[in-house]
């Protein structure tokens, strides 16, 4: 590898064959380059009479933002694209964590440049902290082939492997409908929506697109009164009800009994998860004897109500 100084304009950024990083913020890197300059030169290679970037997209784009005209680079003289890419891979591997999307792009490039599939699974996937099996490779390949909008969504939402691979199983139109629903939710809730939607779709043999375009969901989506988080939560609830009708009806009966009893908010009563056992737990906090006694009195009063017995009938 030769170290040279090149004009940024001479680097053909349109050629993205070695690129693995997309949709990243540059603010911190710009600040760093402003303060101490570009310490670590990007890697470039000559291809089809052009200089193309192999590694260092963030660095080059940050320098361009700062209007730096010339930068130091390492020129890789290797001909074989797989060998070039492997150099770039190892250059990055020791210096930073890869995002899920970057891992997907790395595996995609390795495959595209002709690396043997079994070697990818056995050698590269463990280096990327990915379980060494082909289904994982297939899922990550699917992620790497998503439309730019979906890739951006995965990257900007820092989606972990499971929800991202589920997202990749929907079609682009379905994903487009899903983005506003998933956006405001936590990772677990994102995963829940995706899993439930896919399960319902497969169970009833109806495309997810049709389920998402149902009147009841459109009504929520078009509401002007609801915030985007409220809309997402309502759709999540609706899908859960469709996915688990019997369990949801039990949950609703339980909630409705508590409502009828005007169960106090400061005392929590819970069945076991999914009503799997016939037991309940009650919790409350107290800071003194008086508060403790007041809660016990309240519980005694609740226990004497007719609705309280119905709670036990529910789980039998």
């Amino acid at each position: 590898m030769k170290k040279e100084k090149l004009s940024i304009d001479d680097i053909t950024l349109k050629d993205e064959r070695f690129r693995i990083s997309y949709y990243f913020p540059l603010d911190e890197l710009i600040l760093s380059i402003k303060k101490i300059g570009l310490i670590n030169p990007p890697l470039v290679a000559f291809r089809d009479k052009h200089i193309i970037l192999v590694s260092g997209w963030k660095r080059v784009l940050a320098c361009a933002e700062l209007a730096i005209t010339h930068i130091p680079v390492f020129v890789i003289e290797e001909e074989d694209e797989l060998e070039i890419f492997i150099k770039a891979f190892y250059e990055n591997l020791t210096t930073r964590e890869f995002s899920l999307l970057e891992k997907a792009e790395i595996l995609n490039r390795l495959k595209r440049f002709g690396e043997d599939e079994q070697n990818i699974v056995r050698h590269y996937m463990p280096l990327l902290n990915i379980p060494r099996n082909l289904p994982y490779l297939d899922s990550l390949m699917a992620i790497s082939q998503l439309e730019p909008e979906a890739k951006r969504f995965i990257q900007e939402n820092s989606m972990p492997f499971l929800p991202a691979s589920l997202l990749a199983e929907f079609n682009p139109e379905e994903r487009r409908l899903l983005f506003p629903l998933l956006s405001p939710l936590s990772q677990n809730k994102k995963k829940e929506i995706l899993e439930n939607l896919q399960d319902i779709s497969r169970r009833i043999g109806t495309p997810a697109e049709k389920i998402l375009s149902a009147q009841e969901i459109l009504k929520i989506q078009n509401s002007e009164k609801l915030s985007s988080l409220q809309k997402a939560e309502k759709v999540r609830f609706l899908l859960k009800r469709k996915r688990y009708p019997a369990f949801s009806s039990w949950e609703e009966s339980f909630e409705s009994l508590l409502k009828k009893m005007r169960w106090p908010k400061e005392i929590t009563i819970r069945p076991t998860p999914y009503f799997e056992d016939e037991e309940f737990s009650v919790t409350f906090t107290f800071e003194n004897k008086e508060k403790f006694s007041a809660n016990l009195l309240k519980l005694q009063e609740l226990a004497s109500r007719e609705e309280f017995s119905k709670i036990f009938n529910l789980v039998k």
């Binding site: 079994q118 289904p135 399960d199 319902i200 996915r243 019997a246 998860p273 799997e276 056992d277 016939e278």
Partner: protein, 371 residues
């Protein structure tokens, strides 16, 4: 009756396993099949594990190797649910059948059909194990990590196992299968501590979810022939799977079963509903894209496995128990595989007090085994 006879495309033999009598017997009966000697099964397993169609490929290869650890282990069961104190003999691993719901797809890291050939070690280990546990009656079987009879035309292990166990007064041997590979069994004299058991399911589940397995009618017919020979037979409705019309179709199987076999010959019937660890769902989705059984109302149980929401399980069990009792199975011991005490109480009306009481219950129809 069509016998499902497994023939591998290739046999891998660990070099140090060539001299065992079981290896010789198997290789003799597979003289037309290519044989490859290998130093270490680990490399082969690793190579197949990282290739495409792992499970499909694994089923086409037979691996003859030694069991280097313990042959006999407690059945892993599942935490937080009632176990049945069963012991398993890890003689064969994996199964040539290809059931969508099969836990082995996820449970075993070795995808090859594997036969452990060091039988002398097995008998030695069993002697010690049975002696150590001589205080009670042990239920022990080979059908947990493989099908007990699917390879029996090659291994003839049923003969050796039955001969060994018929002399043991504190053990019940169960050979559990979905196949009709009973030729060897029919040549052996029965013993009252030997139970030949079949996993049964409704016609639709057999057709759609139990790839390569004989029809349920064929299994019942095989059980009839074995019971007429004088063996006790057992049945496992496991996994019971919900779908529109399940009640009628399971009813038909139960009717056929009791029309074919004298309930007095039935040692036990176990019931278990569909359940599996969440990671198996991904495998099933990928390997069997047309199956819908994993999309039913399965919640996460106390053990983390997906299983039907409790009221749905209860409904399944109650109806199947009623059907069994109505068709003449009132006196047959029924038990659940991996179920909660609530389910036992509500569906069967009692809860076993510890594993010993379940043990005694399940061995009761066989009469006292100890001299």
């Amino acid at each position: 009756m069509i016998e499902s006879k497994y023939l591998p495309q290739k046999v891998y033999v660990e070099k140090q396993s060539f001299d065992f009598p079981l290896t010789k017997r198997i290789l003799e009966s597979l003289s037309q099949i290519p044989i490859v000697a290998i130093e270490n099964p680990r490399d082969l397993i690793e190579n197949i594990r990282t290739s495409r169609n792992v499970r499909e490929r694994g089923k086409t290869y037979l691996l003859l190797t030694r069991q280097k650890g313990e042959f006999v282990k407690p059945c892993p069961c599942t935490p937080y649910y009632i176990g049945c104190n069963y012991f398993i003999i890890n003689l064969d691993l994996n199964c040539p059948l290809d059931c969508t719901y099969c836990i082995l797809q996820q449970y075993l890291s070795n995808p090859l059909i594997t036969v452990h050939v060091n039988l002398d070690d097995l008998w030695r280990q069993l002697d010690v194990f049975l002696h150590r546990n001589r205080a009670g009656i042990l239920r022990i079987g080979t059908g947990e990590l493989g099908d007990s009879l699917a390879l029996d035309h090659l291994t003839e292990n049923s003969k050796g196992l039955i001969s060994y166990f018929r002399e043991k007064r504190n053990a019940l041997l169960e050979l559990k299968t979905k196949t009709v590979n009973i030729k060897n069994i029919l040549k052996i004299e029965p013993a009252r501590n030997i139970v030949i058991a079949w996993s049964l399911n409704s016609r639709r589940i057999v057709r759609e979810e139990e790839g390569g397995a004989p029809l349920v009618e064929e299994r019942i017919d095989a059980a009839r022939r074995v019971s007429e020979k004088g063996f006790r037979v057992g049945f496992h409705f496991d996994p019971i799977i919900r779908y529109p019309g399940w009640e009628d179709e399971y009813g038909e199987v139960i009717k056929r079963l009791f029309n074919a076999i004298d309930p007095g010959q039935m040692a036990w019937i176990s019931l278990g509903s569909l359940r599996f660890p969440p990671s198996l769902k991904t495998i099933i989705k990928e390997r069997f894209p047309s199956t819908k059984i994993i999309f039913d109302e399965l919640i996460k149980g106390k053990d983390g496995k997906l299983r039907y929401f409790k009221p749905l399980r209860l409904e399944l069990y109650k109806k199947i128990i009623d059907l069994i009792k109505n068709w003449g199975g009132e006196k047959i011991p029924l038990y659940f595989c991996m179920e909660s005490k609530e389910i036992w109480r509500r569906a069967l009306g009692w809860v076993p007090k510890g594993q010993e009481s379940l043990q005694a219950y399940l061995s009761s129809p066989l009469g006292p085994l100890k001299k």
